[in-house]
Symmetry: C2
Subunit: 426 residues, 2 copies
Amino acid sequence: MLVYKYPERTSWPSLLQRPVMDTAALETNVGNILADVKQNGDAAVRKYAQQFDKVQLQMLEVTSAEFIHAAAVLDADLKKAILQAKQNIELFHKAQQEAGKIIETMPGVQCWRKPVAIEKVGLYIPGGSAPLFSTILMLGIPAMIAGCKEIVLCTPSNAAGEVHPAVLFAAEQVGLDRVFKIGGVQAIAAMAYGTESVPKVHKIFGPGNQYVTCAKQLVNKSGVAIDMPAGPSEVAVLADETCIPSFVAADLLSQAEHGPDSQVLLVTTAGEIIEEVQKEVAAQLALLPRKDIAAQALENSRIILVKDTEEAMALLNAYAPEHLIVACKDDIGIADAVINAGSVFLGNYSPESAGDYASGTNHTLPTNGYATAYSGVSLDSFVKKITFQRLTKEGLQQIGATIETMAAAEGLDAHKNAVTIRLKYK
Amino acid sequence: MLVYKYPERTSWPSLLQRPVMDTAALETNVGNILADVKQNGDAAVRKYAQQFDKVQLQMLEVTSAEFIHAAAVLDADLKKAILQAKQNIELFHKAQQEAGKIIETMPGVQCWRKPVAIEKVGLYIPGGSAPLFSTILMLGIPAMIAGCKEIVLCTPSNAAGEVHPAVLFAAEQVGLDRVFKIGGVQAIAAMAYGTESVPKVHKIFGPGNQYVTCAKQLVNKSGVAIDMPAGPSEVAVLADETCIPSFVAADLLSQAEHGPDSQVLLVTTAGEIIEEVQKEVAAQLALLPRKDIAAQALENSRIILVKDTEEAMALLNAYAPEHLIVACKDDIGIADAVINAGSVFLGNYSPESAGDYASGTNHTLPTNGYATAYSGVSLDSFVKKITFQRLTKEGLQQIGATIETMAAAEGLDAHKNAVTIRLKYK
């Protein structure tokens, strides 16, 4: 990790720079696959499954026999852990439910908002070396709480046409019964346009590689909503002299192991901890199965020494990290200074892993600096808040002149007339 | 208006089709202007102001003398109306404030969400024939309530370099003091990238023509958030035999006058009202200053007779109108069946104009079918909901095994280790 001591503010932009993600080069290829699936449906999906995932799929949809088998073979401890995580995630996301209260802005003028579930949503869970069943909990649970009527899950199978039992168990526990063995761009296309097997949805959620990211961007442009723009995962740790360097090192490594493009940043007000953290990073890294990946990520990672907490928070708010760990004595006070971050972990006993898996908060978060303007996934991501209003005749009499005056001043006489004609009606 | 009686469900998709908006053809030109402003700042902004708005701008920012002048010359009734509307919009949007409550998902595991204002936002108000001061209220009021620290407003001036006094008065009343006389693509560019005069913002709001829409899409792709995708404005009216045909006609016309591409739809269960509504439309249209525009919009508009309310709501939910007016006896009951709409107006005395100007609800709404997945602008649009968590040592002991088991099953050992190292620490 590169160490910067008391850098000038003018150097912050270059210090905080992220690797540039550019999917423009992929757009033609990805666009062709999208168009093919839009046109040819399941046949195109099967073709790309064969081409990219080396699997010849008969049934695209997971059967109930497969769900039963998954539950039978999955390790009991893992099942217990999934159920515990589910309980916590449910508790946290249920607390986000809102009752629409009626506001009478003037006598006889009632206005309210009502959260209404997005009717049809699609969840994408990537395949690859490990089964990302935790993301099923993070997306499926709020979708179920919201009351989405049609929830489709796409995830690639292995070459034998099987989906990992942990994925199927998690899906079943959440209540997702429509799981399709489709991965990559063809999965995004199937959910965006619909095929003979896969229902078309209004919004698509979930992580993915650069092809999936590009596909989500393209279908978003053509009218399908997506959860948020994507980017490599990242953590920033703010540590003072009360931090425990081995914990800090473990947190940095838990982000670094995600991928060679992961971003890891340590900001500290305590110069004396830097060496200790670096020693711990080296020692812990050597024992990790994914040490090659983590080592690559660490090459681009930075340790920045700043003069005080205020400067630290200015720097961190400028960076807008996806995850922010505050390992400081005054962690609660510092929390108030957070303006830009996806999710914040306070104190020495709140590792990012807690939020990644089981504490209850969502792990689908804005990265790449998007935390300046975007929130992580929550119950809100699965509902629309529709406004309603009901005016009585007396209510319209109260507010009518205001509307007429404003409409006339904007040159919209028919808008004015919609009020006038009602006021004059006997 | 074209009349369709009891159309088959299979014909709904073609009946409900909207004009296709395609800004792809504009992308090169718009992209060039964006790049020029990014590179050359204020000088490029001035160049395009001269080229497109025929105005030679010295100061880009509105001065306090201009605000004072605006307040002095503006009509007293209009001022009163703006203040009344402001009061109602404030009341409705303040009620959207949330206190972040702490959820203890397990003993010692505390999680909460905190709404934090987006630090820097930009509001765009188009110029053109009429001053759209109402949109300043709709965007500026929630931005102020949210507590955004930097709120920039861009709006084009006339050829004399003046901004309409109603725009300046509304801005001042809302508390917006940074108003720039910049319009079109160059305004979006200035706010997205920043110039010598205009601060760079994280999210851009506001309506605009196809060039502005295209510019918002392009800067969104490069990382600046936008309020929502745009499209022509539209209204659907659901009317039964208790509706008042002259009111329905006035509502249809108030949408039709927006522009030749406005969408107007009347769905009714009462065949007997159709002729009366058509007569009223013709009579009222003749008296409108914007009758040519409205007449064009009506050419593409439809009246659809359906067999019952259930079928009507199925059709309307498939259409997902920006505005839905329910002029029916059981308007409250029907409200419960709304799945896809931006804003809903219930009963005979709730014209769309009420929500457009003054009842309190927001008028920046999802159109073009986006109401299937998007909400209108609200206080939520100006905040991020950041999650926080704080675990005690005992809390981590409670949840530790769950995290370790899940992380190991996903093959992420460093994630597991961030917990293990803490649990083992003495």
